[in-house]
Amino acid sequence: MEFRDAWSIARKDLRIELRSRVLTNQIAPFTLLIVVLFGFALDADTQTLRDTGPGLFWVAVLLIALLAIQRAVQIEDADAARERTLLTPVSPSSVFLGKSIALFIQLVALEVLLFFVMLALFNLSVGNPLLICLSALVATIGVATSGTLYGVITAGVGVRETLLPILLLPVLAPIAIGATRAFGDAFDRVDADGWAWLGLLAVFAVVYTVLGMFAYGQLVEDT
């Protein structure tokens, strides 16, 4: 049962996160810090912050995603955990799905926090909550699957911290554009068809889920 295996892997990653509390003690405060920095950079002008809010939200998500992905790779560095997972009768595609699900759940938790903080500090008003929720979920699937895939490419590499951003961020360009436009529409900030952008985000998510399931096994053998 592939999905049950994937869920076991996801639970393992989430349990490690719950016990180590890196997400709550380090990455979540970093999220708040980014919002404050945006405020400083844009000169405390609420109108500018409101207009650029959707874009700032996704820039912040991509930055915290980098930290979360590094963390997801790092927890398997110790005690050759990645190799040991390979020895279990779980297929590599299930491991990929499991790790993506864990990353997805963590990112969604951080996004909820970021969303409400930005809503309050930037004085944003939501026009279309359904579009916000759906586009955030679909875009996060894309970030989580591509992040898990690129995470394993850079696993076991000495320069992982610097290599991951230059490999991953250009690939995430469609997410940065698509999710920003969908949010812009949902916040009534831009004249765009948010639902069409949701379609593009869905294509990205499907492509990276399929690619990841095929490529993960090939890559994980070499880490």
Binding site: I166, L167, G178, L200, A215, D222
Partner: protein, 265 residues
């Protein structure tokens, strides 16, 4: 056949040139000055773009060949994963490096051309500009990954997967940028309009031919350098151990020589 075309002969260890690269190089020695003459002296000014049109004799060919180079990298990556052959991996790497260089030239010449023509160095709303920039950044990442120390097989496999993903991503980036601003400042291809004057058309074809030859010439040389680098990497430890052993032997002989001299004294 592949090896005959690209690989270096045993007797030519100190060079990456061969008859075919010398021929291509000679074509460039003659062709580049000819292109400069045609672009700057013989071909006429454009009615609207004026002298800026002369940049297009380089800009368009390098743009075309940067896309071809990344295409070859993708094909090389697919074939590497299929055949596991070092030949394809080295081809993919060599082509990506030239592609990045051509892509940088495309962005730079395009930007310089855009200033007098569009009155801006950069236009965020233009699909081709933004897609090319993202593609450039993706392949910079690909080259960075290739520099990471790892065994040749691991590095080749990782790079092949990143090369393929990068190429799959290009249409998605293109589509997202197209929807984003839904505009382009780039004109429709003047070639298909049939509006180009004979000399302009000829210079453009000459530019494409010269850049094509330059791509092939660079590809073969870079392939051979890459091939030698992997060879050296594979034999490196053996060679280093032999060198150190030879040093030690020489040192021992020297020391025992001194002792013998000492004994005599």
């Amino acid at each position: 056949m592949k090896i005959k075309f690209m690989a270096i002969k045993e007797t030519q260890n100190n060079t990456t040139s061969s008859r075919i690269t010398r021929f291509l190089g000679s074509c460039l020695v003659l062709g580049v000055p000819a292109l400069i003459l045609f672009a700057f002296v013989f071909s006429p000014k454009d009615d609207t773009m004026e002298d800026a049109v002369r940049l297009l004799y380089i800009h368009v060919p390098v743009a075309i060949f940067s896309y071809i180079a990344f295409g070859i990298t993708a094909i090389g990556s697919i074939f590497y994963l299929w055949k596991r052959s070092r030949w394809w991996d080295t081809t993919a790497h060599a082509s990506a490096e030239i592609g990045v260089m051509f892509c940088a030239l495309t962005l730079i010449t395009g930007s310089i051309w855009g200033r007098p023509t569009w009155n801006t160095w950069w236009e965020w709303g233009d699909v081709r500009l933004v897609t090319t920039l993202v593609m450039f950044l993706m392949f910079i990442g690909y080259l960075a990954l290739r520099q990471v120390p790892a065994s040749p097989e691991v590095r080749a496999k990782r790079a092949a997967i990143v090369g393929i993903i990068g190429t799959i991503n290009i249409p998605i980036v293109n589509r997202s940028v197209e929807w984003w601003e839904n505009s382009t400042l780039h004109q429709q291809s003047s070639l298909t309009d049939g509006n180009l004057e004979d000399l302009t058309l000829f210079t453009w074809f000459l530019g494409t031919l010269i850049i094509g030859i330059a791509y092939l010439w660079l590809l073969i040389h870079r392939f051979r350098v890459g091939w030698l680098a992997t060879e050296y990497e594979a034999q490196g430890y053996g060679v280093a151990i032999e060198e150190r052993q030879a040093e030690a032997r020489a040192h021992n002989t020297e020391t025992s020589g001194h002792l013998e001299e000492g004994e005599v004294e």
